[in-house]
Amino acid sequence: MLTKRIIACLDMDGGRVVKGVKFKNLRDAGDPAECAAAHARSGADEIVMLDITATSGNRRTMLDTVRRTARSLFIPFTVGGGIRRLEDAAAVFDAGADKIAINSAAVRDPTLIGKIAERFGSQAVMVAIDARKVDSGFAVFVAGGRLPTGRDAVSWAQEAAACGAGEILLTSMDRDGTQSGFDCGLVRAVAEAVSIPVIASGGAGSARDFIEVFRHGRADAALAASIFHFGIGNIAEQKRELHHAGVPVRWPC
């Protein structure tokens, strides 16, 4: 039986793992290669590494970090942040990533999705969407949540899928880093509108939150950073609880 995936996210700044609340107030959370390996050992189904500042000066550091992290990681590994062109994606794949995540650049030029998918396969292209609840639905923001795009999350997810995206990484900006639960309304709206897998992100605080986003949000996978850092909880404990609640997960693993 296909299981629900628990994905550990490493937000990166200058070669270090950091974590903020609502995209602000960054705290240091350790060495990326060590964090990734530790998460894999404790049962993470995948690792996502996002360069949240993605300045040009950080690119080389980021590629070195990807290479070092990938060397001994044998679960799927996604890298995002600052990928603006096909060549950027190729460099990240060459450094050892299995998938890339694109956000702002895909909004700016949706054909980029297809260009990367054509060369590396749709399975290697994750389109990341940062969305916030508004009166009319869910509004898409880019540039680390700073710029509104005028797009709606559901229709943008559908367009991204049609362009060749293999998965949607959907982050609720309202819940990011708050540990107050996923935005199941947002996740469900998108998950029911596309046929590709949807990864819920933003708000994970407890095993109950994962259970809800899988049952009520119809998520295929859920991603978390905060609760897996700083010793707040580990993935093995969360998965054990999910397993006992009857959610199909890779457990034991």
Partner: protein, 196 residues
């Protein structure tokens, strides 16, 4: 030496990296003479069945068929396993190797496609490739087309229907999942291949 076939599709790093980690000598190559000289061959692959067209245009196809026919250990991964069947609905004009019978087909519309994530293995009978892999082990998949369950199926997974997760005949092996991305279970399978 293990030769990983480079036919211009996708990203072959992760397969090479897994063999490096296991201490096996592996090279990524598109040269028929390197394949002919190799002790073992791995045909990886992600993406569209049509990308296998490059095997025909480069002359790699004959080298691969001769090697597998001569009993050289051969492992097809994902699209590489699908190539070992007769063909795929995904691109009908590409003829597969026909080492295993049947056509690869799309998943039914009752399930989300692609099939992405960790699914369990029903290990069906004594397999050299899956030696030591316990029943219901989880492996990582990402694909939209699947191969049928046949006499040579050594493990199956379920996604709307049962499909071949692994096939084996003589020294020719295929896995639909990605052993290089399936944690310790996957590494143990690649290690078994190294020891065939």
């Amino acid at each position: 030496m293990i030769a990983i076939v480079d036919y211009g599709a996708g990203n072959l790093n992760s397969v090479k990296k897994a063999f490096d980690y296991l201490g096996a000598e592996a090279v990524v190559t598109d040269r028929p003479e390197t394949l002919a000289a190799a002790g073992k061959i791995v045909l990886p692959g992600v993406g569209h069945f049509s990308s296998l067209r490059a095997l025909n245009s480069t002359g790699l196809r004959n080298t691969l068929l001769q090697s597998a026919g001569a009993g050289k250990p051969f492992l097809g991964i994902c699209l590489g396993m699908q190539w070992l069947f007769e063909g795929s609905e995904e691109c009908r004009e590409i003829v597969g190797a026909g080492i295993f019978p049947g056509q690869c087909r799309q998943f039914s519309s009752s399930v989300k496609s692609p099939h992405v994530g960790w699914n369990s293995l029903a290990v069906q009978k004594g397999s050299r490739l899956l030696r030591g892999v316990v029943q219901d082990s989880f492996v990582y998949y990402t694909h939209s087309f699947h191969a049928p369950v046949v006499d040579e199926t050594t493990a199956a997974s379920e996604y709307g229907l049962r499909f071949s997760a692994a096939v084996e005949r003589g020294n020719t092996f295929g896995v639909q999942f990605h052993p290089e991305k399936s944690g310790d279970v996957g590494l143990s399978i690649l290690k078994n291949f190294c020891e065939v």
